[in-house]
Symmetry: C2
Subunit: 329 residues, 2 copies
């Protein structure tokens, strides 16, 4: 994608921007396992970034506020600074619940449903997630909706977004709304099978080692092709990854790449019947690259967006609406 929207361009720290250079708001992506913060100016140029392991899963409700006030104190910032938060901090087991919006959900109005969290931080709020309250197939997201907003304000039009991760999301954007989405537990399955069961002994203890993966891309591709040929019905292929090693037909070293190919391939095989047009992939660069390879194998046109830029653009758009910050243009 060519980034020709000033908001997205400003959000990308690799581009020179002409903003005030003064802190305008703090943007926070508070996930299950990671906390990421960006201090930005009125053009969303990044003045400072921080990242740490203080994810929702390791925190109690009392732990959140001191992490933010600590950051503000260290940087000599006012507690009155606008702060926009997305992600699992808004889950029932997070800081304070920000109830889901029902799908279809209008992205530009996410901020109108944000939940304030603390009297000490009067302009700090958590954005809601989006849920499909479908009796036969419920689904939910927290955080990805803000990335969708970022892609939308960055100029991505109607079509599909792919947000790979622990819980991969495939989102249909239309008229500025999340019209539909589906979650695949691919990353979670990969991690669970890497730590427990018959495949665990064949894999690196913490799942994907990127160098290892890079050395076995041909095996990854072969398993994607297998899953696509199976049309995703590859449940019986999981044990075959181990059987290939115990029968001496394959070296165990490639098992991580083969499992990754099988699971990503099954995901793509399943979703591809719904897709049309170009898919925009938003995620960790190495994971996005694997999904791009999978899309290539499936004949799906795709483009990779910078995940950090999209997150900043989405949080920044919400922060401006929350705090009535002029766009600086």
């Amino acid at each position: 994608m060519t980034v020709d929207d000033p908001t997205l361009a400003a959000a990308d720290h690799r581009h020179a921007v002409t903003g005030s250079g003064k802190p305008a708001c703090l943007l926070v992506d508070w996930g299950s396992t990671r906390l990421r913060l960006w201090l930005v100016d009125d053009r969303l140029a990044v003045l400072d970034r921080e990242s740490g392991p203080q994810g929702q899963a390791s925190l109690t409700p009392q732990d959140y506020e001191p992490l933010l006030t600590g950051y503000l104190d260290r940087h000599g910032l006012s507690y009155d600074l606008p702060i926009a938060i997305c992600g699992m901090a808004g889950a029932l087991a997070g800081w304070r619940e920000a109830p889901y919006l029902d799908c279809p959900a209008t992205l530009m109005t996410l901020a109108d449903h944000a939940i304030p969290v603390s009297d000490r931080l009067p302009r700090c709020a958590i954005l809601p997630g989006v849920a499909r309250r479908d009796d036969t197939h419920p689904d939910a997201m927290r955080g990805e909706e803000t990335q969708c907003l970022g892609a939308h304000v960055g100029g991505v039009g109607d079509g599909w977004l792919c947000l790979p991760g622990t819980h991969s999301k495939w989102v249909r954007l239309q008229d500025g709304m999340v019209q539909h989405f589906s979650t695949y537990m691919t990353g979670d399955l990969y991690a669970a099978l890497g730590r427990h069961g018959a495949l665990a002994g064949l894999m690196a203890p913490d799942g994907a080692d990127h160098d290892l993966m890079a050395a076995h891309l041909a095996e990854f591709d072969a398993m994607v092709a297998t899953a696509l040929a199976d049309e995703g019905g590859s449940w019986d292929r999981l044990f075959a990854l181990r059987a290939a090693v115990v029968t001496g037909q394959r070296d165990g070293a490639a098992t991580a790449a083969r499992l990754s190919g099988l699971l990503i391939g099954a995901e793509i095989a399943h979703i591809r019947r719904s897709l049309d047009g170009v898919v925009s992939i938003i995620g960790d660069p190495s994971l996005a690259a694997l999904y791009a390879r999978g899309c290539d194998s499936a004949g799906i046109n795709h483009t990779i967006l910078d995940a950090e830029a999209v997150t900043i653009a989405g949080l920044g758009s919400a922060a401006r609406r929350l705090a009535d910050i002029p766009t600086g243009t």
Copy 2:
């Protein structure tokens, strides 16, 4: 199934038998996580049974012999007693490797390929497993082939066997041979997802609690039906189990039953295109009952065989051939 074959009947401790009543051989099913022994007479009537957690995964090669000699010593038995072992003791990482027979494999000749293991136990041997050395879909079993032998000598003719467990096997028997088989990692997946990832918090720490499962059989059945309707392509349903809870549509208490139904349903949906005739289910009674429910939902005719009787019949048949023991008839 009516057990009308004398071998199977003799192996079943609930039937009165007329054997010598003297120890004729020791039968051992040495799995990954469990060790099970049966001391039997010449008609395979069980004189003593033991079971313990000394599975292959927790042992080094030096640990095996003392476990057997300890048993023999405690019962005042000669080290010359015939001992037939099946299962993971014969894996590369077990006591001594008993190389796989290639599929199709003749069951009655399993014993001819058994591997002796110890000079101190001259009539003790490990039965081989069976492997599919198929480049695109390798597969392997250790232990289930001996249960297939037991079903065969017990009068089960040509057709399909289902052996549910950590690695569920579906086996096509024909002319006394394992003609074909497929493994599904269903039990392993269930356990991995119960201990790690987004579903883990919703489930009992050690997976299936049978009382809990029994209380939610309607939810189990509903998810089997879902997987069957999806024709097994249910990868996107896994996260829906969690989403149903976080969106408030379902109580988390039934999640274990719903996951079990989804995974068993996906397995049955995938294999059913290959099946014909009546499927004989051999496994832990509570797990066999769940597979039987799944088969009912899929319109698959089935019968449940007593897993212990089948194992004893298979090991006993092999032990007789190994040791040239008269059948006592």
